[in-house]
Amino acid sequence: MARESELALVEAAIDGDTDSFTELCRRYYPAMVAIAHSVLGDRHFAEDAAQEAFAKAFSWLSKLRKKEKFACWLATICRNVSRDMLRAKGRLSNPDDLTKVVIPSEDGDNELTEAVREAVTSLSRTLKEVIFLRYYDGMPYDQISEVLGISKTAVDGRLRRAKKMVVEYLHRSGFVEGPL
């Protein structure tokens, strides 16, 4: 039912209905902010990137071939906009080296939280993205799989792999003891 209503919204948006597109934006805003945040490492920049991605998506809607893959298409645009922003800000000379983006720490973090933050920062782009989608807003697996264009099993696999790497990082740093 939700899928059908989304398809109807996408079709209406392609026909130029701004309200339908706005509704789609409302649905996917948290997911897009999470993706952009995983790339940029900053919540405010992430929100800007998500909104810019929506604007670009609206003007490129006629290029969308698979309407049922709207979320995945939107995520790709958001990812690219975020990378462009990152490049424009000149934080990195090499845009592929996104793992260097540091998630800023907050006051009151204990040592373990700080170590987890570092561990997440060291993850690869795909693993970091899935971690952000899952823990940003407690997003369910089916929505993550829709946004990333992969199966729920693959989402589960990526999450497990990411967590394992975080634990390994913590183990190396001396925060956890015992066999892995």
């Binding site: 701004t18 909104q51 003007s59 823990y135 940003y136 634990v167």
Partner: protein, 156 residues
């Protein structure tokens, strides 16, 4: 800290690091700030398309241009150096390939043979034609007679 079998501690640690308040989408602000800007940018881009800059920026176009230049240079080098040899080869090919007397005596054949080996080669060509016309033609014949013979061969 001991490593526990369940990863609830990790979930809560990750939630602490990543989670934040749910972002709210402000549609009005978005339309005003981003959509209008993007649409006007698109419009401008459609009005003044700079084809040359697109071509220059495109890697494929650059690569294609380099390939074309390299091929042109190679072709020029090969054609300059190999032309006389190529002509000689062609002349020999024409001189050898003809099988009927009519073909041997054709203007093209004779001219190619003459270009290739002067009068001697032409005489050889005539001898070949004579042999092919038949065993009855052992004496010297006039050009008119030869042409008559050739016409008959053609008809056969």
């Amino acid at each position: 800290m001991k490593l526990q079998k369940d990863d609830k501690w990790l979930d809560s640690a990750l939630s602490r690091v990543i989670s934040s308040d749910k972002p709210q989408f402000d549609a009005e602000r978005w339309k005003e700030q981003y959509l209008k800007q993007e649409l006007s940018r698109e419009k401008t881009a459609k009005i003044t398309p700079n084809v040359w800059s697109i071509l220059i920026k495109s890697r494929i176009t650059k690569l294609a241009a380099v390939v074309v230049v390299v091929l042109a240079v190679c072709w020029l080098a090969v054609s300059d150096r190999g032309e006389p040899e190529q002509q000689q080869t062609n002349a020999r090919a024409v001189a050898v390939t003809p099988e009927t007397p009519a073909e041997l005596m054709s203007v093209i054949s004779l001219s190619m043979v003459f270009r290739d080996g002067d009068m001697e080669a032409m005489e050889e060509q005539f001898d070949k034609a004579e042999k092919l016309v038949g065993p009855g033609l052992k004496e010297r014949i006039t050009i008119d007679q030869l042409i008559c013979e050739l016409e008959e061969c053609k008809q056969i």
